[in-house]
Each structure stands twice: as structure tokens, then as C-alpha cells.
């Protein structure tokens, strides 16, 4: 009996906490509650049950909690809302409805693997394609995907050498890898200095998230540093990145000509604030595409003006955004706030989902209009060929780029633009800048050959 009181107190407190939390959730993120109450009436045909035997299942690894949540949430919203609007507007992909299930990873690799295992067998044909949304998780899942025969789309992240489909048949880093992004940035720095040779003697600092994600560009930057004789300062920031004083004190001391910021989540906004603290000019800081979105610059407010980042896709709205607003938000089925539709990371998630949907559509042209397996979808991704006309038909004009993948090239596009924060919004500050494939190709070759050798794979699968 001694603990009876305690037990009762606990039983009371749990629902109280739940209620408190629920209210908070309504305030910050009006979605979840509307979804639960209205879904029965409005969501018919939009939110399809995972067990539906006529639907194509797409697993969603997302992170809406933890230090990466400010960035993870818009990506997840963009991704899932595109899937929902395909169901709502088009009635699915050629009539095959999409079902999806989210799994919270918290951007942690171990939890991502658990989510992968949890979701890979769901739906009538299993998971069609995984988007790990984390480079660390991509490394881990890359080892598992070939066994389970499920492809990975790692749009703008993951292993840079995985664009070589001969060695990595299941990985698709479409629209750019970190080596591509780093090369675009160096090329841009060359452009504004009147040629890459003028980088000689310059000092470029890389402030990076100390994880596979942050370390990924280092080989390329080191190679470029030796080609053009600039000095590369490597300043790691430990996860989650709220403590980076020492990196910025180093920057104040060394006064590099440029700072490249390879951060994610709270690390980015902290970096901009620290840069302000040491009075490092923001217009000399260049971010990776994961460090160039609203949540990164808004906390720093006016201090972030002039900061630029390489961009896969910027903010703004295309036709499909209007569809999302009318089909989902007007019906109370949105996952986030209305204003969030069309932000940078929302569009990243949307673009990612569009690639998934088009891959499935391509695969359907060969295997028929029914739920497909991961192996069949893999064929669809590898044979993806999106033209400007297709993009227009999808209502994504200007927000998706023509891409044509092949066995030997799983990346498809090696060019990007830079965009600049003007205090209100992101706007493109340069034209398309291409990465130099003469530099990238040999690195991809040697890195993927090493991987193939260690894993005992045949590296010439594309030759046949």
C-alpha cells in the first residue's frame, strides 16, 4: 500500500502532461490535432492506410524532435504533403494510391536503423524507396539496402562516391553530392576572384559538423587546396553544434578570407550568431544547401543579411504549392503552418518526394500500374528521365530540374546556384555554376573502387 499514493499520483500526472503537451502542439503546429479529428471525414483517398493492398507504400524517416527538428520538420512536411497532394489531386500515381508512414529518427543513426527495419516490410510490396534524410544513417543503410533490395534516394547528401551506380546500384544521390556542392563553392570563389589561380595564398576555413555529413567535403576541398595553393582550415563542431566558440575564436585569430559552413539544425543559426560575435563579415560565409534555409538565418535576424549558401532549390511557390494549399490546407489536412509552404526546406522535401513519385511512375511504365517492389522502383530511378515538359505538367516549373540518370551516373546534375539572405527571404545571387567533373570523376572512381574492393564487389557492372 505504501506506493499506492505514488502510483495514483503518477497515473494522474500522465494524462495531465499529455493534455498540456497537446495544447502546446496545437499552438505551435496546428497539424496533428486536426489530422486526428478530421481525418476520418476529409482524408478519404488522401491518407491511405498502410495495409491497403492496392497502394504503393513509401516509408518516411523524419525528425520532428531534437536539435535538428527546426530543419527536419519542414523537410518532412514538404515530403509528406507532396505525397498527399498526389493522392488528392491525381488520385495517386496513375491511379495507384500512395500510402506512407512516418518514423521519428531524431537524426540519430541507431534510431534510423530501427525505423528502417520497422518500415521496410510494410505495405503490400514492402518499402519502395528510402530517403534516410541523414548522411550518417545513409552510410549505415547503404550496407543493408542491397540485401533487402530497396533503393535509397539521398538527394543532396550521403556518400559522394555513391553516384557511381556500378558499385552502388542501390544509392541515388540525385541533384548533387557534397563533393559537387564543395566544388561549386570553390568554383564560385574562383569566379569572384577572377579565376581559380587567384585563390593562391588565400585562407579558406571549413566549419563543419563533426560527423560523416560534415567530413564528406574534406577530400575534395583538400584536393582543390593542393591544386590552387590555398590554405584550408578545418574547424570541427561537435554534435549538436550549440557550442562552437572555439571554432570562431580560431576564425577571429586566423582571419580566413572565406568560411564554408557545413552545418545542420541548430548549428547553423548558432554559427551565424557566433560570426556576428567575432565580427566576421557574413558575406564571406558560404553555407552548404543544408545551411541555407529560413530556420538557419531567422534566429540571427538582421545579422544574417548577406550570408549566402549553395542551393538545390530556393523558397517560393509553384503551381503544386497552390494545389497543396487548396487540397490540403483548405481541408484542414496540412501538416504545418500555411506560411511554411514554399520555404526552402519545405521545397527540398517536396522536390525529394517528387523524385520518388516520378521514379515510381517510370517504373510503372515497365512493370505495370500496380504497387511495385523496391527492386522494380530501383529500375525506375535508374531510368529516370525528366524533361522540362514533364516538370511543367507536374506543376513544378522552376522547382524541379530536368534530370537523366544512368547506370554510371546516379547523380544526374552537377550544378547549383547560390542564394543570399536579404533579411526577408532567400534570393538567387548567382547563375548556375557547374562543378568540374574532371576533378570529381577521378575521386569518385578511386573512392568507389576502394569500396568495391573492401566489399568484394564487381566494379564494372555498368559496362555490360
Amino acid at each position: 500500500m505504501k506506493y499506492g499514493l505514488l502510483l495514483r499520483a503518477l497515473l494522474f500526472s500522465v494524462p495531465l502532461v499529455m493534455i498540456g503537451c497537446g495544447q502546446d502542439e496545437v499552438g505551435s503546429n496546428s497539424s496533428s490535432s486536426t489530422e486526428t479529428t478530421d481525418s476520418a471525414s476529409n482524408a478519404d483517398g488522401i491518407i491511405v492506410n498502410v495495409s491497403d493492398s492496392n497502394a504503393q507504400f513509401i516509408p518516411v524517416l523524419s525528425y520532428r524532435t531534437g536539435p535538428y527538428a527546426p530543419n527536419g520538420m519542414p523537410v518532412a512536411n514538404g515530403f509528406t504533403e507532396y505525397l498527399k497532394v498526389i493522392n488528392a489531386r491525381d488520385g495517386g500515381i496513375n491511379g495507384v494510391k500512395i500510402s506512407f508512414e512516418e518514423c521519428e529518427t531524431g537524426y540519430a543513426t541507431a534510431r534510423s536503423i530501427e525505423c528502417y527495419e520497422r518500415l521496410k516490410g510494410k505495405g503490400p510490396t514492402g518499402a519502395s524507396v528510402f530517403n534516410p534524410m541523414s548522411t550518417g544513417a545513409t552510410f549505415a543503410i547503404t550496407e543493408k539496402a542491397p540485401v533487402d533490395k530497396i533503393p535509397l534516394i539521398t538527394m543532396g547528401y550521403g556518400r559522394s562516391e555513391s553516384r557511381n551506380g556500378g558499385v552502388f546500384p542501390w544509392n541515388f544521390p540525385i541533384y548533387g553530392t557534397y563533393w559537387t556542392a564543395a566544388d561549386v563553392l570553390i568554383t564560385h570563389l574562383g569566379n569572384i576572384n577572377g579565376g581559380l589561380d587567384n585563390l593562391k595564398g588565400k585562407k579558406i576555413a571549413l566549419v563543419y559538423h563533426d560527423s560523416p555529413f560534415g567530413k564528406e567535403p574534406i577530400p575534395l576541398l583538400e584536393k582543390r587546396a593542393s591544386m590552387h595553393n590555398f590554405e584550408l582550415l578545418k574547424l570541427p563542431v561537435t554534435h549538436p553544434g550549440v557550442e562552437q566558440k572555439s571554432a570562431w575564436i580560431n576564425i577571429r585569430k586566423e582571419q580566413p578570407d572565406y568560411v564554408l559552413l557545413w552545418g545542420w539544425g541548430v548549428m547553423n543559426s548558432t554559427a551565424i550568431k557566433e560570426a556576428t560575435g567575432v565580427r566576421y563579415p557574413r558575406d564571406q560565409i558560404y553555407g552548404i544547401w543544408w545551411a541555407g534555409a529560413e530556420p538557419d538565418v531567422r534566429p540571427a535576424a538582421a545579422d544574417a543579411i548577406g550570408y549566402q549558401a549553395v542551393s538545390m532549390i530556393s523558397s517560393g511557390q509553384a503551381q503544386v504549392h497552390k494545389d497543396i494549399l487548396s487540397y490540403l490546407y483548405d481541408a484542414g489536412l496540412g501538416s504545418g503552418e500555411r506560411e511554411g509552404v514554399g520555404e526552402v526546406l519545405y521545397n527540398v522535401g517536396l522536390l525529394n518526394a517528387a523524385l520518388v513519385v516520378e521514379s515510381i511512375r517510370t517504373a510503372q511504365s515497365k512493370y505495370g500500374e500496380k504497387p511495385l517492389t523496391g527492386e522494380q522502383v530501383r529500375w525506375g530511378i535508374e531510368n529516370l528521365n525528366i524533361s522540362e515538359q514533364d516538370i511543367q505538367d507536374l506543376g513544378l516549373s522552376g522547382y524541379m530540374y530536368p534530370v537523366n540518370l544512368s547506370c554510371s551516373d546516379h547523380e544526374g546534375k552537377r550544378a547549383a546556384r547560390l542564394h543570399r539572405w536579404n533579411g526577408e527571404s532567400w534570393e538567387y545571387s548567382t547563375d548556375w555554376i557547374s562543378a568540374d567533373d574532371a576533378v570529381l570523376q577521378p575521386m569518385v572512381k578511386s573512392a568507389s573502387d576502394t569500396y568495391a574492393k573492401e566489399a568484394g564487389l564487381d566494379a564494372s557492372a555498368c559496362d555490360s
Binding site: 506506493y3 505514488l6 502510483l7 503518477l10 500526472s13 500522465v14 502532461v17 499529455m18 503537451c21 497537446g22 502542439e25 503546429n29 497539424s31 496533428s32 489530422e35 486526428t36 481525418s39 523524419s62 520532428r64 524532435t65 527538428a69 520538420m73 512516418e102 518514423c103 521519428e104 531524431g106 543513426t109 541507431a110 536503423i113 530501427e114 527495419e117 520497422r118 516490410g121 548522411t135 550518417g136 552510410f139 549505415a140 547503404t142 550496407e143 543493408k144 540485401v147 556518400r159 563533426d210 560527423s211 560523416p212 555529413f213 567530413k215 564528406e216 574534406i218 577530400p219 570541427p236 554534435h239 501538416s335 573512392a447 569500396y451 573492401e454 566489399a455 568484394g456
Partner: protein, 354 residues
């Protein structure tokens, strides 16, 4: 009624010194072994193996290892994540640098490397005690974090610092399917549990416990503290090192230094505390509790058919998990193992308690 040992006479020294002197315990352990080796493999699916059994078994091994140090010898350590990292990276380096070596030997060598590190970092325990020792072992945690992310040699110069390994192959037998991995881990756990159980029953274990209960008294009755403490560090880090190698090679398959960060050290210590200090079964119960409960809480709303956003589920998971930890510690500060013991005592009198 169930645990009545009346009529079970010990007629030899052998019977008196048996690991499980009571018949019912022997039956019970046999049932558990039967469940582990026969029933589970027949029933479990891939997800259950990969996401539940394999991590729980490996963590149980680590928790038993830490329990030898914290629970039996009384030396608080926050360096378990570091020992696991040493085990994993050492096994990896032995494997790629001497490819002829049997992977299982590499795991043991990984454990031995952790032993060496453990003994070195155990030396301060001769002078500092309690919380101060915990802080000293924390230094080891940061030291290994730094070492494995900064010294490229340990990661074989992989550009991103992430290591990927192939499935473990022993004499041509590849441990690639979940069920094979499960058997590998379960066998290792069984062997190490037998070793641990016998260690703590013998001279060494008694020396540890004497040191734990009162080190001055232990010294007076002839136990050398340097020997007792360092042997506890050595054995404990060996266990944890092997667990680290299994965690990396069998469970993760690809890992980065972040996989062995301070959070892992904390969760192993929590497993030991919640499971029960100074108890082998406590390590297993604690590992099960800490590993499984979050997954269970996370999936509960889906099973119940409650439509909730993943963020909400995740927040609830943390809150309920935290509340349950406090609840169990408030109900029984000596851990789950003690609850199990009380249950046994109750069963002994059942159905006629006093």
C-alpha cells in the same frame, strides 16, 4: 509453493557450491535457455531480431560487464561507451590489418585492447573514489571520442570517418541473416554470463565485493586493493569491449564515432542501476528495460490505432520513459533484480503468506 526448497538436501560440497542450488532455479534457467535458443528463433521475424533481440543481447553483455565494475567492485565508471568504442575500433583494425585472423579472435582482441585501456584508466581508482572516479572515467570518454574522430589511422583513412564492415564470416560461415546474428550474440552472451557468474562467486569476485563494501577492511583482511580494483577494471572492460565489437560488427554494420558517445555510457550505467547493482540478471533486465521500453512506447499508439503525429509520440515516449524510471527507482531502489528476488520470495510462500 513454487520456490519451496524443502526436501532439497545438499549432501556434497559440489551440490552446496552449485550455481543454482535450488531445483526450481535450474528448471527456470533451462526454460529460459529453451526460449532463447528454440522458441524465439521459431517465432520471431526479422524486425524483432534486428531491432529488439540483437541490441538487447549485446547491451546486456555490456551491462553485465559494467555491473562487475560498478555493482561488484563499487567503482563508478562513465567510460563504458569509450570501452565499447575501443573494442569496436580495435577489432576493426585487427581485421583489416591482419585479414587472415578469424573475426571471433578479432572480437576477443578488441576486448583485450579495451582491457589494456581499462587497466590504464583504472589506475586513478587507486587514489580517487566515488563521484570523483566517475569524472575521471569521463575523461576517457572524451579522449576516445577525440581519438577515433581525429586520428585517421584508426578509421583506415576513410574520408568521412565512417566505417563500413562486411558481415562476420567464420570459416566460410557468414553471419548475415538476422537469425544467425542472433545465435552468435546469444552464444557469446551465454558464455560470458557463465564466466561472470563464476567470477563473482569465486575468490576474485569476493575480493571485489569486499573492496566495494569497505576497502580499508578489505585491505586488512589481506586483499590487495590494487589487484582487486585493476582486475575489476580489466574484466569489466574486456566484457564491454567485446560488446562494443559485436555492437559495431553485428548490429550496426557501419558506424561513426558518434555511435559510442557519452549517451551510450549513460544508458549502460542506467541499465546497471535500474537492473540492479551487483546482480548478473540485473544487467540483463536493465538492458531489456532501457532498450525496449522506448521502442515499445514509440509504437504503442500505432498498435492502439491512435492517430498521432510522430513528434507527439516522441515527446510522450520521453516523458513516460522518464516517469517509469523514477517510478521503478522509487518502488525498488535496488533495481529490477531485487523485484525479481522479492517475487521469488513471495512465490515461495504463496498461496499462504504469513
Amino acid at each position: 509453493m513454487f520456490y519451496r526448497e524443502a526436501g532439497q538436501f545438499k549432501t556434497s560440497y559440489k551440490a552446496d557450491q552449485a550455481v543454482f542450488p535450488i531445483f526450481q532455479d535450474r528448471v527456470f534457467v533451462a526454460i529460459w535457455l529453451l526460449i532463447g535458443f528454440v522458441v524465439v528463433p521459431m517465432l520471431a521475424n526479422e524486425y524483432v531480431f534486428r531491432a529488439i533481440f540483437i541490441p538487447v543481447i549485446i547491451m546486456a553483455l555490456a551491462a553485465i560487464g559494467l555491473n562487475l565494475l560498478v555493482g561488484y567492485c563499487g567503482q563508478v565508471s562513465l567510460g563504458s561507451g569509450a570501452f565499447m568504442a575501443v573494442g569496436a575500433y580495435a577489432a576493426y583494425n585487427f581485421m583489416i590489418r591482419i585479414p587472415e585472423l578469424n573475426p571471433l579472435i578479432c572480437f576477443l582482441l578488441g576486448g583485450l585492447s579495451a582491457t589494456v585501456v581499462g587497466v590504464i584508466f583504472g589506475i586513478p581508482s587507486l587514489r580517487i573514489k566515488g563521484f570523483y572516479l566517475a569524472v575521471a572515467t569521463l575523461a576517457l570518454q572524451f579522449f576516445t571520442d577525440w581519438t577515433f574522430s581525429r586520428i585517421d589511422w584508426f578509421t583506415n583513412y576513410t574520408p568521412s570517418g565512417s566505417i563500413a564492415v562486411q558481415p562476420v564470416a567464420v570459416w566460410g560461415f557468414i553471419f548475415d541473416s538476422p537469425i544467425r546474428k542472433y545465435f552468435l550474440c546469444l552464444t557469446v552472451l551465454l558464455i560470458f554470463t557463465i564466466i561472470a557468474k563464476n567470477l563473482v562467486r569465486g575468490r576474485i569476485g569476493r575480493a571485489w565485493m569486499a573492496t566495494r563494501d569497505m576497502d580499508v577492511a578489505a585491505e586488512i583482511i589481506g586483499i590487495r586493493p590494487i589487484y582487486a580494483k585493476l582486475s575489476a577494471f580489466a574484466v569489466s572492460s574486456f566484457f564491454i569491449g567485446v560488446a562494443g565489437a559485436l555492437w559495431a560488427f553485428v548490429h550496426l554494420g557501419s558506424w561513426e564515432p558518434l555511435a559510442f558517445d557519452i549517451n551510450l555510457s549513460f544508458s549502460i550505467l542506467f541499465m546497471v542501476i535500474i537492473g540492479g547493482l551487483g546482480s548478473i540478471v540485473g544487467g540483463m533486465l536493465g538492458a531489456t528495460f532501457i532498450t525496449l521500453l522506448p521502442l515499445f512506447l514509440n509504437q504503442l499508439p500505432i498498435w492502439l490505432g491512435i492517430n498521432m503525429s510522430t513528434a507527439m509520440v516522441s515527446h510522450l515516449e520521453y516523458m513516460i520513459f522518464g516517469a517509469l524510471i523514477i517510478f521503478f527507482l522509487a518502488v525498488e531502489p535496488l533495481g529490477l533484480a531485487r523485484i525479481w528476488q522479492i517475487t521469488k520470495e513471495k512465490l515461495r510462500l504463496w498461496p499462504f503468506p504469513h
